[in-house]
Amino acid sequence: MSHSLLALVVALPLLAAFLPPLLPGAIRRLLGPLALLLVAALGVYLWRITLIEPVSLALGDFRPPLGVVFYVDSVAALFVLAVALVTLLLWPWRGDTSENLDRKQSLTLVLAAACGGLAVSGDLFNVYVFYELAAVAGYGLAAGGGTAAARVATFRYLILGSLGSLLALLGITLIYFRAGTLNLAHLADLAPQTLHDPFGLAAFFLILLGLGVKAELFLVNTWAPEIYATAEARVSALLAGLVSKLALLVLARLLVLVFPLPEARGALLILGMLGMLTGEFAAFRARDIKRMLAWSSIGQLGAAFIAFSIPGSLGLAAGLAIALHHLLVKPALFLLAERWGGGLARLAGAARRSPFGAALFALFALSLIGVPPLPGFWAKYLLLSGLAAQPDNLYLLAGLVVLVTTVVEAVYLFRVIGMLHGRDAAHSEKPQNMALDMTLPASTLAGSGAFAALLLAVALAAPWLTAPLARMALQMNDSAAYVARVLPATATSEATK
């Protein structure tokens, strides 16, 4: 089978995003989900074959390093699958007006396409393009909340994001200036000679900051709480769940392929630690559930950064586990938070209105803080055992940070659970409004229920998933294989040298 199917990962959603105005109503509404389903199927297929061996595609058959390269290893395939599935689960089925809905659906699809592109891109330029695409779609979606607060938040996000893009672009330019190529495989090949110096590191740092805006990296994550608090829940879920993970993936690839340097790892580690500390502690004092989730996701991504900073496939495995786990849990929590937004005090007694919703919240919370046998525990286990195995004391410190912030996380999440099950605030205040207000709609329950089902399935299948995960991490860590796959010629020339 031709690997040109790879292009569909990007092409299908884009097509579905821009075709609808030309189509009649019924098909129009189904086109997006259909495209996503196809991408998901493609993801499953790709995952199965790439577990054995990665594939790459040179678009238009321009051989690298000249052309546009898509590279899919099992990690990328899994992310493609995840992008499709999560987008599907967070699909905007309803809107205020038809026009509004069209726009939302289109933007969502663009976002999905961009995310898929980020997952499979094999060169930095494409990465930048897809990243910009995702950013634009993200601004559009975030502003779609319609409220003034949402617009203000989006505006700030926009400034920060643009500045970030600029920095990333600057970094990419520096790299190009030094190495003369943007193809990742090529870069991996050239990096030891050209980029492993302060100059290269500076470029890495700029890219880190730039992409870090989306990945909620500490220093550039200040937009997150406001956006998540004001945007629609499913948008928050997409941004926190999906986009951040893909930015993370790109950074991880960059780290593995081009900059496997202790300084780069150190930067990642320190920023990750700071992100975890600030995020989780800030969430401790959050007074509404959406901001709390936003900060929590900053913390979780910090944990992922810490994980990726661990050298070797063990760290990658841990980072992947954390990222994927967060991808499963956080969107679902944001879905639940849609109706339960606002001050935490409002939640009192909500469990009586929506017992199933409260149970789901508890399940996600438990997984998030890493209670075995839920998947979150295995992610945390991988992270900690990876950190403990490092000789550097900074890694042990990071382990300590992870442990302490987990305690903080447990406290604030359980505070919410306590609120949910506490005495009904409705008793004292206007009961009817409250009752209606706090009951979760069936669609929300169905959405997060689906995530919960996935989570539980992963929990049950954990013993059988460890081997693929390890394999994925190995593949991702194997930069020689990457180079060899994308640039067979260079690899052979290397070998002959």
Partner: protein
């Protein structure tokens, strides 16, 4: 399928069964029968047993294997669960359900606890152990949170403690893996003692802290009393009697089996004078004294018992830390003994609550004529808790005392005795304020608790009495557990121990005691004039005419003189410590939020970029 598989499978079936059928009246009997079956199965099987289920995760095997040490705890767990389940299944459960609580969740939480504990007790490696540990913690949380608003608040207070403990254990687990390359408990037994002192000390600190929190050792004890006291009745009994002992199980495993006590004694703070082992012993001793002292100040029967539960844990740990045959047998036996009478006591308090609606020690009194069986339970229970003959609590404490005496630890010995004396004072207050003194007018029509409640309580205290008179019955399990753990094994007889340095024969002591009571009764009832019962208002009041509307009863500030002296001793410094940590967290959180509230994030971004670049370039 071997016995352990069946055991675990049955336990795994019960939580869903409880959630499905918990509302059905017969469920308690069904669960009771299952638990009885499990007890018989467990008591009869040959150990050690490895479970058929074996997982392979990240290249490490995760498995379950039960030895005699685990079985000892497992039997206690199942027994207490049995008593609690039966208690829950009757009138108490109906009242509980009528109060808007869910019997399904309560049964489910209890069954979940049993399952979690069995998993923990039979874990074969640290991952299985941690899974069991966390499940126990959260199942415990579920059980704690069942009693309404206050219970929920207390349970939430438990969360940071439980989580800190879990994270400490997890950290220890990660370091163990990094330093030894294995997580298998059997393999670790050989490797861990060979680690150097720094590593061992760090592991001891991490694991020790995690386990101490569960056990409620000082200074991590504050969560336990409210969490256990406010839970729903039968849940409180289960939590109080056995839940916290999981911490002891883990500590014993760590100290004795994995690290070995001699290695722990190598970790010296002051060379030759004060080692980690001494530190543990002193923590245990302080855990005996200070919580007992707090218990003495309680005015709520449930809290009083819960605080004593914390204090009693100290005896168990102290016995194990001494580590000789007598002391460790005492410590382990105390787990069993304590479970029997503590469960009975808690159930009795909840029986009183069931009838009177309160556990406030200042609003009760004189119930002995109305609830004589409950009184009997509480009487035998407090004799056990206070550690007086003829109940079993005496035997285990005696073993601990004796080993402290022979080990030459006068101050520790003194602490244990002070704990016992304080307990006597406090439990007398408990029984006096509940059952003795003046019967309140509003309680005159109260009836004895129903059989579904009195039977489990009576069964427990009878067990406590029988194993007090013939401690050999329980000591056989203890000796097996000692052997499995690698401790010196106690040479016991049916009546106690025989040793050249002082014997204990409870058969004789109990026999003579009851003969003495018999003679006393003969003297009292046989000799002298007839007596006539008088009404409680026919009482000396300096010539005053008593009437039922005026309270003639002494309950509040019961030990005024004692409190005058020791009341200000440590002025709730632990509570202050706890609030200080909470406040510090809150402050840190506020500071962190400042970061996210900045008005010009773009500027920060630029500054960060410049700074980062300069760091990268100048490094």
């Amino acid at each position: 399928m071997n016995a352990l598989d069946i055991l675990l499978a049955l336990s795994a079936l019960m939580p869903p069964a409880a959630l499905l059928f918990g509302r059905w009246r017969g469920y308690a009997w069904l669960a009771g029968m299952v638990l009885t079956g499990q007890i018989i199965l467990l008591a009869g099987c040959d150990l050690p047993l490895a479970a058929g289920m074996n997982l392979e995760i990240f290249g490490r095997s995760v498995g379950w294997r039960l030895d005699a040490f685990g079985r000892f705890f497992a039997l206690i767990t199942l027994g207490v669960a049995l008593a609690s389940t039966v208690y829950m299944g009757g009138e108490w459960g109906e009242r509980h359900a009528a109060g808007g609580h869910s019997p399904r969740w309560l049964h489910g939480a209890l069954a979940g606890n049993v399952l979690a504990m069995l998993l923990l007790l039979s874990s074969q490696d640290l991952i299985a152990f941690f899974i069991g540990w966390e499940l126990t913690s959260w199942a415990g949380f579920l059980l704690m949170a069942q009693g309404g608003e206050k219970a929920l608040r207390a349970a939430l207070r438990y969360v940071p403690y439980a989580m800190s403990g879990a994270m400490a254990v997890l950290g220890g687990l990660a370091l163990t893996l990094a330093w030894t390359g294995t997580l298998d408990l059997a393999a670790l037994t050989g490797i861990m003692p060979t680690l150097d002192n720094t590593k061992l000390a760090l592991l001891l600190a991490l694991f020790g802290m995690g386990f101490s929190i569960k056990m409620g050792l000082l200074p991590f004890h504050l969560w336990q009393a409210p969490a256990y006291a406010e839970a729903a009745g039968a849940g409180t009994a289960f939590l109080g009697a056995i839940s916290a002992r999981m911490g002891l199980f883990a500590l014993a495993l760590l100290l004795v089996k994995l690290m070995t006590l001699t290695r722990v004694a190598d970790l010296a703070f002051i060379e030759g004078l004060f080692t980690a082992r001494d530190l543990l012993a002193w923590v245990a001793a302080l855990t005996i004294v200070l919580p007992t002292f707090t218990a003495l100040k309680q005015n709520d029967a449930r809290y009083l018992l819960a605080w004593h539960g914390i204090g009693q844990g100290g005896y168990m740990l102290l016995g194990i830390v001494i580590g000789d045959a007598t002391g460790s047998a005492g410590g382990l036996l105390h787990v069993f003994n304590y479970a029997t009478y503590q469960a009975a006591l808690v159930l009795a308090v909840f029986a009183v609550m069931h009838r009177t609606g309160t556990a406030d020690l200042n609003s009760l009194g004189g119930l002995v004529t109305r609830m004589p069986l409950t009184f009997l339970v509480m009487l035998l229970g407090i004799i056990g808790l206070a550690g007086l003959p003829p109940m079993n609590g005496f035997v285990s404490k005696w073993l601990v005392y004796r080993s402290l005496m022979l080990d030459g630890r006068p101050l520790l010995f003194l602490m244990t005795v002070i704990g016992t004396l304080g307990t006597i004072l406090s439990v007398y207050k408990l029984i006096h304020n509940t059952f003795l003194g003046q019967l309140r007018a509003e309680h005159e029509q109260i009836r004895e608790a129903p059989w579904s409640m009195t039977l489990p309580m009576l069964a427990l205290v009878i067990l406590a009495f029988v194993t007090g008179a013939a401690p050999g019955l329980a000591l056989s399990w203890v000796a097996e557990a000692q052997a499995a753990l690698g401790l010196p094994v106690l040479a016991y007889t049916l009546g106690g121990i025989e040793s050249p340095r002082g014997n204990l024969d409870m058969l004789w002591i109990v026999g003579v005691l009851f003969a003495g009571f018999g003679i006393g009764a003969l003297l009292f009832y046989g000799a002298g004039g007839r007596s006539k019962r008088v009404h409680q208002l026919d009482n000396y009041a300096g010539g005053h005419f008593l009437s039922a509307d005026v309270r003639y009863h002494y309950s509040d500030h019961f030990y005024a003189g004692l409190m005058h002296r020791i009341g200000p001793f440590y002025r709730s410094s632990f509570t202050r410590l706890e609030s200080a940590v909470a406040a510090a967290t809150d402050l840190a959180a506020s500071l962190m939020q400042v970061w996210y509230r900045q008005t010009v994030p773009a500027l920060t971004l630029l500054v960060a970029a410049v700074l980062g670049l300069s760091w990268m370039i100048w490094k």
